[in-house]
Symmetry: C2
Subunit: 359 residues, 2 copies
């Protein structure tokens, strides 16, 4: 910047002003812009944000971008934030809890981002403590321990799982198996618990043989866990803890000559884009990832505008999106084109009846 000032024969103050669009005499402005262009001057963002005390940037931390639900969530966050003039930075931290905490620690320092939205697969006390101590606003997507003093977006996944089970029950299925995610993750435990509760409520058999959990949220891991299930017991329906696991199961069923949905009806969770990728298309519990992302972004914007605002928790209400893997029909029960991208079709992040506010 000093070079530009020298080249243009002005002070650095003028360079700063002109380059930031403040008024200046046309001749001066021209000289400065010309000099800046000639020298290929680009501002130093660290210096600027040190002085300005803001970065105009928000950080989104997720565990694994490989899960399409996170992509939807990111889209929701991005849209709201971009409209508000913030850029979005994404950190994918793998699913290492320690790494999560250290990434969080880094992010919540000042000077790196003005705010943080984090959606951790694992939430421990240490992480909560770090987030609560953050000098920049933080919004957590996911269920927090009681009493955590953080803005928060949740989804009642238990009721989502219940919707799925009621749907299967209504179709006459009585032996419903559960293909769960890793139980050392937050959604893994919660969806399993939700399955057990809902199964009991419906009077379905509480047979532990009907449950199998993966050790990762991946297609590969699902194949293994589902093989255990198949080798062990019989069932006429399967609820998988997310869409990718469900698709892996459907593939195995197809290879074994079991028909979906005639022999086994299959339901996934997340209602992500991949529900359209399988044959038959996949019935799934929509947890409103994109909407949750947008809700979290709006919560963050509010907190940025008013650091003293009371804590707030927003809760997304799940919906069931019925497709061929349970009904066999190409026509969906609800509205919408059967082959439309579900996440896009279903989610207007800016409004909707499924959003509930808490406290």
């Amino acid at each position: 910047m000093a070079d530009v000032a020298r080249e243009a024969g002005v002070s650095v103050a003028s360079v700063s002003r002109v380059l930031n669009g403040h008024p200046a005499r046309p001749g001066t402005a021209d000289r400065i812009r010309k000099a800046a262009a000639e020298l290929g001057y680009l501002p130093d963002l660290a210096a600027r944000s040190l002085k300005m005390r803001r970065t105009e940037q928000v950080s989104l931390v997720v565990d694994d971008l490989g899960n399409p639900a996170y992509i939807d969530m990111m889209r929701g966050v991005e849209r709201v934030l971009r409209d508000a003039g913030y850029r979005l930075q994404i950190s994918a931290i793998g699913s290492d809890a320690d790494l999560g905490t250290s990434t969080a620690l880094h992010t919540v320092s000042r000077g790196y981002a003005d705010g943080l939205i984090i959606c951790p697969l694992r939430i421990n006390a240490e992480l909560v403590q770090v987030l609560e101590a953050s000098p920049i606003p933080v919004v957590v997507i996911g269920t927090l321990p009681r009493g955590a003093r953080l803005d928060n977006v949740t989804v009642d996944s238990s009721s989502g799982v219940r919707l799925a089970l009621e749907h299967l029950h209504g179709l006459g299925r009585r032996r419903v198996a559960f293909l769960g995610g890793p139980v050392d993750t937050n959604p893994g435990t919660r969806r399993l618990a939700g399955f057990r509760t809902a199964a009991r409520a419906l009077g379905l058999p509480g047979d532990p043989e009907l449950e199998s959990v993966t050790d990762a949220w991946t297609y590969e891991a699902a194949l293994t866990a589902f093989d255990r299930l198949l080798g062990r017991t019989d069932f006429d329906a399967l609820l998988a803890a997310n869409d990718v696991l469900a698709i892996a199961a459907m593939h195995t069923l197809h290879r074994r000559g079991r028909r979906v949905p005639q022999d086994v009806a299959v339901v996934g969770v997340d209602d992500s884009e991949v529900t359209a990728f399988s044959t038959p298309t996949l019935t799934s519990v929509a947890l409103g990832a994109q909407r949750r992302g947008a809700m979290a972004a709006r919560l963050l914007l509010r907190r940025l505008a008013d650091p003293e605002a009371p804590l707030r928790r927003l809760r997304e209400v799940p919906r069931l999106q019925v497709r061929e893997s349970t009904t066999g029909s190409a026509e969906p029960v609800g509205a919408g084109h059967p082959t439309a991208q579900p996440s896009t079709a279903a989610a207007d992040p800016h409004a909707g009846p499924a959003e509930q506010e808490h406290r």
Copy 2:
């Protein structure tokens, strides 16, 4: 930091030293750490990187994280960079070319990241100019205009398309249709051109009716473009410009009662995770997204270590991954478990014969 110093009764210099692990008298160090913990002190990263002239952070800019190939690419970048002690920040810029340039402009400023890896769908002269003028090292993944002075990773997608066509030709297919991506994107044009060249080389009919292009790299857009193709002409094979488009086409074929591969053999491009999601599984041209990501990261690391190193271009060589959508068999022709995650199974980002160096 001044607060911590006061609380601990030392100077800010000592606080800085202790918190950065430099030697200090144990008593002093303890007092400082205690004070920092009590006050919930977190360093200001803008100040630190202004002083240090480095952020220990690298930025990856991609157009659309919805495309699974980018996820693979990100994994490749992330692994190499993390091992080298850098954190990875991702910016998804949608596919807006202007936005791309302005994001790039922002990123290549100093103080935000130490280096940039960018994989743009559209590359124009303005973008190249901005990148060339960057004060921080830049690596571009994608084909650059001749003479661009930038470290670069490319893939010979034409030869990939040729592999696919030769495979289809070898299976006796003579009317091969092409479902292309948007022609205003770099890969969109290049893959279409590659198709035409390879078709001519094989003596296949150069019938324009066999070509249809989408206006977006999405499942939805593919349905529309593929309907045009179906309504217009007959074919016994389809090459789609990426996996998602291929899966959309397979779905339509399935709905119309056309068998894959018996009636129409289908090949995608990218060999992404979704190739396992469809029934039948999808034969696909692997463009080594994860490997390209890793190559780009290594190029960046090299440039970071030696700003004066000569420019370098690395070229990834495509491979064909044969699956059920062309052979009908559940057994792949090559090695590997048929249901394994292709991207993980196929790619060791750290080595391999498919990598070629140029100039």
